[in-house]
């Protein structure tokens, strides 16, 4: 049972444009969501997170939107840069994210082209 789903395995975006990565979840107990970026041969790197009490969190070029009623979150990257090419995982947890396990989606491979 995949509780966190990323239905797009890959996405290609031109440099300078907006990248939108989507994530859906089924467990209504999840109340904290995170996005990680992963390069080959490296561990996932934390990008941005959002608590369920918010619907938007912004950090530089990265913005995460949360739609609780739809159980959907998205990561917007604008403007996209070639260095953003990586696999992006969304993750969800119950609690503050510290003491609880993360449930990951299957990832979306983003390719930013010149």
């Amino acid at each position: 049972d995949q509780q966190v789903k990323q239905n797009s395995p890959s996405l290609s975006v031109q440099e300078g444009r907006i990248s939108i990565l989507n994530c859906d979840y089924t467990n209504s107990m999840f109340d904290y969501f995170l996005w990680y970026k992963k390069y080959p041969a490296e561990g996932p790197t934390f990008l941005i997170s959002i608590s369920s009490i918010k619907d938007k969190n912004e950090d530089g070029r990265f913005t995460v939107f949360l739609n609780k009623s739809a159980k959907h979150l998205s990561l917007h990257i604008v403007p996209s840069q070639p260095g953003d090419s990586a696999v992006y995982f969304c993750a969800a947890t119950v609690g503050t994210g510290t003491a609880s396990k993360l449930t990951f989606g299957t990832g979306t491979r983003l390719q930013v082209t010149l």
């Binding site: 490296e42 561990g43 790197t45 934390f46 994210g97 510290t98 003491a99 990951f104």
Partner: protein, 116 residues
């Protein structure tokens, strides 16, 4: 964020043998976790490494197969026992609850294991 190292970074092992993976953090952390990422799959939590007591395993993972130690607040080991080709995966440790960043989990670089 905490600096996390893992040893070995990769290994190729024979079926039936065991491998111990080490995870070292440069600062004391409250929580340490072990994840597995099988080829083409997502990351799956194996267990939470508890300092001074037995690890807490997720459904589908057992101590006999994946014994874990955590002797202090900066170090943990995961052993993959009696390996089979199905154990070929990337194994990652993660940490949370450091003084500098309490609410997020940070990952080590991973150990790529191939079982022949």
């Amino acid at each position: 964020s905490a600096v996390i190292s893992q040893k070995p970074s990769r290994d190729i092992c024979q079926r039936g043998t065991s491998l111990t993976i080490q995870c070292q953090v440069d600062s004391q952390v409250t929580m340490m976790f072990w994840y597995r990422q099988q080829p083409g799959q997502s990351l799956t939590l194996i267990a939470t490494a508890n300092q001074g007591s037995e690890a807490t395993y997720e459904s589908g993972f057992v101590i006999d197969k994946f014994p874990i130690s955590r002797p202090n607040l900066t170090f943990s080991t995961l052993t993959v026992s009696n390996m089979s080709p199905e154990d070929s995966s990337i194994y990652l440790c993660s940490v949370a609850g450091s003084l500098s960043s309490y609410n997020e989990q940070f990952f080590g670089p991973g150990t790529r294991l191939t079982v022949l």
